[in-house]
């Protein structure tokens, strides 16, 4: 009896009404992107779904389930005071490491397209790296806040542990292999370090150190070199290495200003591989034209800028770092994905958050937005933050 009361008390303690008004603009923009994504997944996946599974609604149905789960997750996250994540930061990083190792355990880990990125539990596959991204951001924000608040400026004390954690996690992710996520993790870490006030010299040093590592990784895996070649000279081999990116160009090109109309894409009919996942933005370009592309980029821009504004106006260091971190993750994913499909970066294999088909990605992205909403809700109109009171 008493125990249940304690639990109820704890739950009451965790879930609470945010004291201020959360940033509804972020919520609105996120839902818009989610709707656009769902429609585009339906448009781009029906033919493949019909052919592969005999059910044209296969991917749409799943995406709707994930969207439901994600919205629930977002709601829950928006009701949990973000300060609680500080307690979970270390647990999260340990859990991440465990999960990343478990991926390689036969029977648990699932291999798709030659990459071990998923853990299968009770019929559901779970992409570990999506969780790791969020856990690492929370951990970095927590650890650096601690140091900043204690006035710690020593490079070794302040940055050694986060750096080590990030490098180990990145190494494990590279092992899957998942080059795209690894790049995201490293860049997000650098952004947070930069924000936390590391000397630019160290940052540049670290970035310089990453160059030979990157070169080595590219040399060891032949396909990455091919991808870079294809990126630099796609038209040299339009039927081979350049095929994928050229098909994407043709999507954007045939879309023109106004697009060929929703559902009318021809490129999705087996010309463009993976039209509903990594390259969904190309189908948007074809069906909705430059107008559609502009709209989606503007929605993402609003989301990203609102995220940084939350970080900007949160006086609490942890909240600010966390908001900036989450926003940076989303921004990096958006920018890299769109840059890749438009041939500005070599092919990576990253999804477009909220829009591409992908269960874990969608749920975790929506959960991250939930955290952002919570942070925005803790701000008082006056400008002083509300978190100290709770603590």
């Amino acid at each position: 009896m008493q125990m249940t009361e304690t639990v109820a008390g704890n739950i009451r303690d965790i879930f609470h009404e945010p004291q201020g008004r959360p940033d509804y603009m972020i919520l609105f923009v996120t839902l818009c992107l989610l709707i656009i994504g769902t429609v585009m997944i339906y448009s781009s996946s029906t033919i493949a779904a019909e052919q592969r599974y005999g059910n044209s609604l296969h991917f749409l149905k799943r995406q709707l389930i994930y969207a439901g789960l994600g919205i629930a997750g977002m709601f829950i996250m928006s009701r949990i005071h973000y300060q609680h994540w500080r307690k979970a930061a270390s647990v999260g990083i340990v859990l991440s490491l465990v999960l990343l190792v478990l991926v390689f355990v036969p029977g648990l880990g699932t291999t798709i397209n030659g990459a071990r990125r998923w853990i299968k539990v009770a019929g559901f596959t779970f992409q570990v790296s999506e969780f790791v991204k969020l856990a690492l951001v929370v951990f970095l924000a927590h650890f650096l806040t601690k140091k900043i608040e204690y006035g710690q400026n020593d490079i070794r004390r302040m940055f050694a542990v986060p750096l080590a954690c990030t490098v180990v996690i990145t190494a494990l992710i590279l092992k899957q292999p998942d080059f795209g996520t690894a790049v995201i993790l490293i860049t997000v870490m650098l952004f947070i370090f930069y924000l936390a006030g590391i000397r630019l010299l160290y940052l540049l040093g670290f970035a310089a150190a990453m160059v030979p590592v990157g070169v080595l990784l590219v040399i060891f895996e032949g396909y990455r070199l091919k991808r870079i070649f294809a990126f630099l000279h796609p038209w040299d081999d339009p039927q081979g290495a350049g095929f994928h990116i050229i098909q994407s160009f043709l999507c954007f090109g045939s879309g023109g200003a106004l697009g060929v109309g929703l559902g009318n894409s021809v490129q999705k009919l087996y010309y463009l591989p993976e039209p509903h996942t990594d390259f969904i933005f190309s189908i948007i370009g074809e069906e909705c034209g430059f107008i559609g592309v502009l709209l989606v980029i503007i929605l993402f821009a609003v989301l990203i800028m609102r995220g940084f504004m939350i970080s900007f106006s949160t006086s609490d260091t942890f909240g600010s770092l966390l908001a900036a971190g989450i926003t940076t993750v989303i921004a990096m994913e958006v920018c890299i994905n769109i840059a890749v499909v438009m041939g500005m970066l070599p092919t990576k294999g990253l999804v477009l958050p909220f829009v591409s088909y992908g269960g874990t990605s969608l749920v975790m992205s929506l959960a991250a937005v939930g955290i952002l909403l919570n942070i925005s809700g803790q701000m008082r109109p006056g400008g002083t933050n509300a978190l100290r009171k709770t603590e």
């Binding site: 930069y194 006030g197 090109g253 010309y271 990203i304 940084f308 900007f312």
Partner: protein, 668 residues
């Protein structure tokens, strides 16, 4: 964090936001570049990859006779093609196709393993074959409708029309000459397809309307006359066991060719099955020594120059006339004494005409022949014409000159003869022979009209008239060689010809191989139609007056009877008689007509009485049906062509319940 630190923190946050703003702007610029600036080239590239294009000829233009009857039309036929990429099991598919189309499996296999995504298997297949192919669509074997040339009248005018190959390219005749106008530019059939080659039906590219650039051709040929000429020629050639023949019917006033028939003829729908020999348009490609039909031209030249008159008397040397080191004889080894020019033409004296020619001198004779169009192409609009062969007068030996006066030692085409004859018939003015009256577009608007064209004045109108009189006596007078060409009711001018053929194996003129001919026009005083009949190497009747003249007569008679050509008939009261006779008797010859003409009873009923059954004989199916509808007669039709028999008889009252049986046939 103190104030200063906070400030720096916010600055750093600001730079990060700035970085992403720039990144996002770069993305928008890139999208603008791809979708707006490079739109054209990328769209083009995408279309290239998404569209499957096949070039197909458009529906080829029609060829119509002067009455609008279709001589060459286009129908759609199924063709089979394969997308080799979509074929799952080559062996099996090839077997199925080979079975359905009656092809060799190895041939099919070759086509299935070709490169690319399109390969014809068999073109223009039959409907049952198409039905057998249809279920193979899942294996990448498809049907495509292609326009296919079709000659609904089969052999009719085949040498004029020519034919086309499988890609609808004109190979001979008018199909060849007017290929560009008839075919129009190739048009593209294209459809969008997915990357696996499946057709996306809803995203079809609108076919480009190009029908306007296809022209139809209207001929001067009257298919009814053409049919008569062909049938009569065929009968004559077969009856005389000849090698072949030609017949030309021409309007001398305009140069329009109303019929140009050659035998043997062929079915252009299956041209590949016949030899080149049968496809040859003999009337314009084959040269021969004309023989005696040439004599009127000599007479015309002499009369025109004023060196002779009709009643001038020539001594015909009793049948053997020494010229240089040779001796000239008369045909049939006849022995003539003194003859007037009129007699020379009427009885066709070789010696007489040689003497007439001598009065002209070589040079004038040559000039006249050139003026009559010998030794050069007539310029008819059918390809393949040859100029014949006329040597320069300075190479003539005396005997050559004499021989040429009766048509030996000079090579002419049938068309040259007919054209020269037309010039005489047309008051001495030569018209350019032509078979195309107009080229019209698909809406019937005239694009190009071929109006009658004067070539030159050949002889004076008076001379022409005098020659016509001479030629009339050949047919109409007692003892003329062309008496078998006589037509009741119409005065005919004509000339027979029997020419020895040069035997190239013996290098001498053969006495056995001859060209029998008859050339003439009617009515003699106001000529409206020139008819020429050439029978090549007849074996039964070797003489032009026997082998060719009846054919001339039959063609002319039927043309006169069938067609309303406003030819004035001299003895009007006999008209109905003749009409009656020729329409009732299939393939009449002279004797039959004369006999029948005396026994036939002129109908006692009034043909204008609409309550009586009319006489359908000789009417086309269309006219019969129109008339029956008008009068409310129930009909039962059988056969095709023109009405040849009917039950009940003409003049019976119309009974609404009793149908009238009408038999149609092609033979008269």
């Amino acid at each position: 964090m103190n104030r200063k630190e906070k400030k720096w923190y916010r600055f750093r946050l600001f730079t990060i936001a700035g970085f992403f703003s720039i990144f996002l702007c770069a993305l928008v610029i890139r999208a603008f570049h791809l979708q707006i600036i490079k739109y054209e080239s990328l769209k083009h590239y995408a279309d290239e990859q998404q569209f499957c294009n096949i070039l197909l000829p458009p529906e080829r233009g029609l060829i119509l006779d002067q009455n609008g009857q279709k001589l060459a039309a286009t129908i759609l036929a199924d063709s089979v093609y394969v997308d080799p990429v979509m074929v799952k099991n080559r062996e099996k598919t090839a077997e199925k196709i080979a079975y359905a189309l009656d092809m060799k499996k190895a041939d099919v296999m070759k086509k299935l393993s070709g490169p690319g995504r399109f390969s014809w298997i068999k073109r223009k297949i039959t409907p049952p074959e198409a039905a057998a192919i249809k279920p193979l669509a899942a294996d990448g074997v498809f049907l495509l409708q292609e326009p296919n040339r079709f000659y609904p009248q089969r052999e009719l005018a085949c040498h004029i029309l020519g034919f086309v190959n499988i890609d609808s390219q004109g190979l001979e005749g008018l199909e060849f000459k007017y290929d560009n106008q008839l075919k129009g530019p190739l048009h593209t059939i294209s459809w969008r397809r997915d990357a696996k080659g499946n057709r996306i039906y809803q995203a079809e590219r609108a076919p480009v309307e190009q029908n306007d650039s296809v022209s139809n051709i209207i001929l001067t040929i009257d298919s009814r006359i053409q049919f008569i000429a062909e049938q009569q020629l065929k009968d004559a050639v077969e009856a005389n066991r000849a090698k072949g023949g030609s017949a030309i019917v021409m309007d001398p006033r305009t140069g329009e060719i109303l019929a140009l028939a050659n035998y043997p003829f062929f079915n252009p729908n299956a041209f590949s099955k016949v030899s080149a020999d049968e496809r040859r348009n003999r009337a314009i490609t084959d040269c021969f020594d004309p023989g005696s039909v040439f004599k009127p031209f000599v007479a015309a030249a002499a009369l025109d120059d004023g060196v002779v008159k009709e009643n001038d008397v020539f001594y015909c040397e009793n049948g053997s006339y020494r010229v240089g080191d040779r001796v000239i004889h008369e045909a049939h080894m006849k022995r003539h004494q003194a003859m007037t020019l009129a007699d020379i033409i009427k009885k066709s004296s070789n010696i007489g005409i040689a003497k007439v020619a001598q009065l002209l001198t070589k040079e004038r004779f040559y000039e006249h022949l050139r003026e009559l169009g010998f030794g050069e192409e007539t310029g008819i609009d059918i390809p393949g014409e040859v100029p014949g062969f006329l040597r320069k007068p300075n190479t003539w030996r005396p005997v050559d000159f004499a021989n040429m006066s009766f048509g030996q030692g000079i090579s002419v085409t049938a068309l040259q003869l007919a054209t020269a004859m037309s010039a005489i018939a047309n008051h001495g003015v030569m018209m350019k022979p032509h078979v195309v009256r107009a080229i019209v577009d698909s809406q019937g608007k005239v694009l190009e009209e071929f109006t009658p064209q004067v070539v030159r004045k050949v002889v004076s109108p008076v001379t022409a008239e005098r020659v016509a009189v001479l030629m009339t006596s050949v047919v109409e007078s007692q003892g003329g060689t062309g008496s078998r060409a006589r037509i009741t009711g119409v005065s005919v001018a004509g000339k027979t010809g029997t020419a020895q053929k040069f035997d190239f194996t013996e290098k001498a003129y053969s006495s056995q191989k001859v060209t029998a001919s008859f050339m003439g026009f009617f009515p003699a005083d106001e000529p409206q139609m020139v008819v020429l009949v050439i029978i090549d190497e007849p074996e039964i009747n070797r003489w032009g007056g026997v082998a060719a003249a009846p054919t001339f007569k039959n063609i002319s008679e039927q043309v006169l009877c069938r067609l309303d050509r406003n030819i004035e008939i001299k003895r009007v009261e006999k008209e109905a008689e003749v009409k009656k006779v020729t329409s009732r008797v299939a393939r009449p010859d002279t004797a039959d007509i004369m006999q029948a003409a005396s026994t036939e009873i002129i109908p006692s009923y009034d043909p204008a009485d609409t309550s009586l059954i009319p006489d359908f004989t000789g009417m086309s199916l269309r006219d019969v049906l129109a008339l029956c509808r008008e009068r409310g007669i129930k009909t039962r039709i059988s056969g095709s062509g023109w009405a040849v028999n009917q039950e009940p008889e003409p003049g019976m009252p119309i009974d609404a319940d009793r149908p009238c049986f009408i038999l149609f046939g092609n033979a008269f």
